[in-house]
């Protein structure tokens, strides 16, 4: 009897499964019906995009979280004071957004923003107080915001963040519903680059108070005032953005829906792009990249990210205390070859510390200042430099007697290949022996701060659009990259550049500082700047591709889908 029951259950399960599989194909055909009909103006009648988000946004609370995925969503659902938009030549410019206009006093320490009339998604008008509250909440100690340090230029921000001063002492206040005044510690040339960061986005005090810690975790636990509102958020699966009809510039927004699918697997992303279930994707894998380049339905954009991959020396080490040895190891790497071989021609060689696409004034810094490392290579032979350095240290001048260790902060297979590659390259170009050590990232971090790393490998991306974002990491007070190196003149130059409003003068300060860092002291070994290959169906228009841009999907539309 029991056996019968078992069999019956099993059989019915099997039937159920087979039956369900059988009726599945009808859903698929519906997608075809979605294809938009064209309107007389030329743009598709149905305006929507299917995009990919490579990971789940940690939170949509602007004050918390620091991941780029939530940044991407926040840029579309909230209205920062300004936006970094891009023109047809893919260069960025600052545009008014939540603020209609702004002005600053003579020395640039007091900024006044005129807030634009706008509405929250629940109909409540947007006020200057909402921006004030957003900034204050980000800086407040109890919020524990990871990005609060970006707001350091604001008067008393550091002291408020450490709990020394009360939040009322922060240099931010609303003069009335439309006027926001921000007072800075000192003139800060890149201050406007902070006005489109998440930590300065507006927040509604009543909504935050209502939801407490869970603010920003679900669609109904946040209010919106950007071009879009969030209609659906299935954690780790998808987010759907709907057009915000309360938005001040709703006329400009063409897209009715933007579906953000969370797909972490690279191949799944590639498969999705090739069958058209997503409209835009990044494809850096060499095989797939070639396949997409050959696909004439796709546009291809190559964009260099504002990041630098680099190796750094522990300058307190017995060997690497010597500057000539450091220089030898810097130019002992053939960056062109690295970019082509280990990075499959995707990334671009790096000879400077400040990454491409970062601007100073209106110009790209890197196009004005060539990377200093190239000159070391032109003027010297790596092996001679090494031998000179070994002599100065009183060590054996036979490079074969020297063994050094490169520590990598990942146990990944790719890093293993990378390590072996570096090993071979140093052996070939310098004749030294290289050991490779692979540890997990947190272990690496700990080892570096204890000075247990001889040469380490890292990558760093600019957090805001100014050379200071990367250059200030190397001052003697910063602990971001543990080299043990410090230089008074360097500190002085960075401090000067931090409070100088004239772009031409700042350029000179940064040029000299970078020269000290990479040419004279050779503390860092920039290797490559990561580049991404963006593929986009040709019917997609006006979606920004620059890595720093924050215009989001506001201007996007499709034509001829």
């Amino acid at each position: 009897m029991k056996g019968k029951m078992f069999l019956a259950i099993l059989l019915s399960l099997l039937l159920a499964v087979v039956g369900l599989v059988g009726c599945s194909s009808e859903d698929v055909s519906n997608n075809v019906a979605d294809e938009g009909l064209q309107e007389s103006s030329g743009i598709d009648r149905e305006q929507y995009l299917n995009l990919v988000l490579e990971a789940e946004p940690t939170t949509l609370d602007p004050s918390k979280g620091s991941d780029m995925y939530s940044n991407r969503v926040l840029n579309n659902v909230l209205e920062p004071l300004t936006r970094l938009e891009e023109d047809e030549n893919q260069s960025n410019y600052l545009a008014a957004a939540g603020a209609e206009s702004w002005e600053h006093n003579e020395d640039g320490t007091v900024w006044t923003f005129k807030i634009r009339p706008n509405k929250w998604s629940d109909g409540v008008p947007v006020r200057a107080q909402d921006y004030e509250y957003g900034i204050k909440r980000s800086v407040a100690q109890e919020t524990a915001s990871p990005y609060a340090y970006l707001l350091e230029p604001i008067k008393n921000a550091s002291k408020v963040n450490s709990g020394e001063l009360s939040i009322d002492e922060l240099g931010v206040r609303s003069l009335d519903d439309e006027t926001l005044e921000i007072t800075l510690e000192a003139p800060t040339p890149y201050f406007l680059a902070l006005t489109y960061q998440r930590v300065m986005m507006p927040q509604r005090e009543d909504v935050v108070a209502l939801h407490g810690d869970s603010y920003g975790t679900q669609i109904d636990k946040i209010v919106y005032n950007g071009p879009f509102v969030l209609g659906t958020w299935v954690h780790n699966s998808e987010l759907i953005l709907n057009k915000n009809h309360n938005y001040w510039d709703a006329e400009t927004v063409s897209l009715d829906n933007v579906n953000l699918k969370i797909i972490q697997d690279e191949n799944a992303v590639y498969n999705s792009l090739s069958n058209g279930s997503i409209d835009i994707a990044i494809a850096n894998n060499p095989d797939w990249r070639q396949r997409f380049i050959n696909n004439d339905k796709l546009n291809h954009f190559e964009v260099v990210r504002p990041s630098t991959f680099f190796m750094f020396f522990n300058t307190r080490d017995d060997v690497f205390q010597n500057v000539n040895i450091r220089k030898a190891f810097s130019i002992g790497l053939d960056r062109e070859e690295m970019a082509n071989v280990i990075f499959h021609g995707v990334n671009t060689p790096a000879y400077g510390w400040v990454a491409p696409s970062i601007t100073i004034g209106d110009d790209e810094y890197r196009s004005l200042v060539p990377g200093p490392v190239k000159r070391i290579a032109e003027e010297n032979d790596p092996k001679e430099l090494l031998i000179k350095g070994l002599q100065e240290l009183g060590r054996s001048t036979d490079p074969a007697d020297l063994t050094i260790k490169v520590t990598l902060g990942s146990t990944d297979q790719w890093f293993r290949n990378y390590g072996e590659y570096i090993q071979q390259m140093y052996n070939r170009n310098l004749g030294v022996n290289v050991e490779i050590e692979q540890v997990e990232w947190p272990v690496f971090s700990q080892m570096a701060s204890r000075g247990e790393v001889q040469i380490g490998y890292m990558g760093w991306g600019a957090e805001f659009n100014d050379p200071a974002s990367l250059m200030s990491l190397m001052t003697s007070t910063s602990t971001a990259i543990e080299t043990g190196w410090s230089d008074e003149r360097y500190d002085e130059l960075i401090a000067l550049a931090a409070s100088e409003m004239d772009p031409a003068k700042r350029l000179e300060y940064f040029r000299e500082a970078e020269e000290i860092l990479l040419y004279e002291a050779s503390v860092l070994v920039p290797t490559v700047h990561p580049r991404i290959n963006i593929f986009r169906y040709k019917y997609v228009n006006d979606i920004g591709v620059t890595p720093l841009g924050t215009s989001g999907y506001k201007y996007g539309y499709t034509q001829g889908r």
Binding site: L14, V17, S25, Q141, A144, S145, S237, K261, I263, S272
Partner: protein, 311 residues
């Protein structure tokens, strides 16, 4: 029976407590913390604020005390350290449902097909159906899951464009992942059933039944199947526990919002509360399923029932 279950439940709680304590101490002893694991190093003050906010500045013993108090008095597993504001309990209950749905579907398919294939193979021993089934079984065990999944995905979504590549919510989203996931179970159960059936067909009572003129079908159904299915139950229990914790690889490839993601990533991210939450969840499920299997055994097999009662 009642006393037996009571004793087992007591032991279960003890085991669970040991697991929680060990996990808690072990995870705090791995280098790094949720902040150190972020790609960049944050300024000192920012780190301090964060530690203070989440109580990570206190000694581990104190943190353990607070955690246990909240768990026992409120059943609260705390707030995720990586996803601010999200309750661990809620995350587990939501995502385990997704994993469970997919897992049950895959397991049902795998077990049914596996058992059927196993019986077919055994009854046709050393003939082509047997070789074919064993070939499939060996493939199923030896080809890594992610390869099967990637192939299925490429073929059905990019080439044929029949099914959605990724996503969750509709039945069509579950087809490919279920197929990919059931390969392993098919292989396991087919091999298991084959050897069990082979053992049973040589038993005397089968010969007796044959001699009495019972039809082939009834012999399989009443005598062979019933006896051969028993050992398969043993492996079913832990597997059922396993389906709720999700299949990390499958979820990743098909973009499914299951628990597997949190189960694996919480460790990499050092999301302490999520690590301990998923561990408690999985450990409880596992222990409970063991108990259920043991009880079921007694129900299904009279011999075990008798021996327990006489104890």
């Amino acid at each position: 029976m009642g006393r037996y279950i009571l004793k087992r439940v007591g032991l279960m709680l003890l085991t669970l407590w040991i697991i929680i304590t060990l996990t808690f101490l072990l995870m705090h002893s791995i280098p790094g913390d949720p902040l150190a694991n972020m790609a960049r190093k944050l300024p000192e003050q920012i780190q301090q604020n964060y530690y203070q906010r989440y109580g990570l500045d206190k000694p581990v013993v104190v943190q353990y005390g607070i955690f246990m108090k909240n768990l026992i008095t409120k059943g609260d597993l705390g707030e995720s350290l990586v996803y601010p504001g999200r309750s661990v309990t809620e995350t587990i209950s939501k995502n385990s449902k997704v994993s469970g749905r997919l897992g049950i579907q895959a397991l049902a398919m795998g077990v049914t097909i596996g058992i059927t294939l196993g019986i077919i193979a055994a009854l046709n021993r050393n003939r082509w159906p047997d070789f074919l089934v064993m070939f499939i079984a060996i493939l199923g065990v030896s080809i890594p899951l992610f390869i099967i999944a990637a192939l299925l995905q490429y073929f059905f979504t990019a080439k044929l464009e029949l099914l959605p590549t990724t996503g969750w919510g509709k039945f069509k989203h579950t087809i490919l992942p279920s197929i990919a996931m059931c390969f392993g179970s098919i292989a396991t159960y087919a091999r298991y059933m084959r050897s069990n059936v082979l053992e049973i067909v040589n038993q005397d009572y089968i010969l007796t039944a044959k001699a009495k003129g019972v039809s082939e079908f009834n012999i399989i159904r009443k005598h062979i199947f019933r006896n051969a299915i028993l050992p398969a139950l043993t492996i079913l229990g832990p597997q059922i526990a396993g389906i709720f914790t999700g299949a990390f690889v499958i979820e990743r490839i098909f973009g499914i919002p299951g628990l597997g993601f949190y189960y694996i990533n919480s460790i990499n991210d050092r999301d302490y509360t999520m690590i301990i939450g998923t561990t408690v969840f999985f450990a409880s499920l596992f222990i409970i399923s063991q108990l259920v299997v043991d009880i079921l055994y007694g129900v299904v097999d009279p011999r075990i029932r008798v021996s327990k009662n006489s104890r």
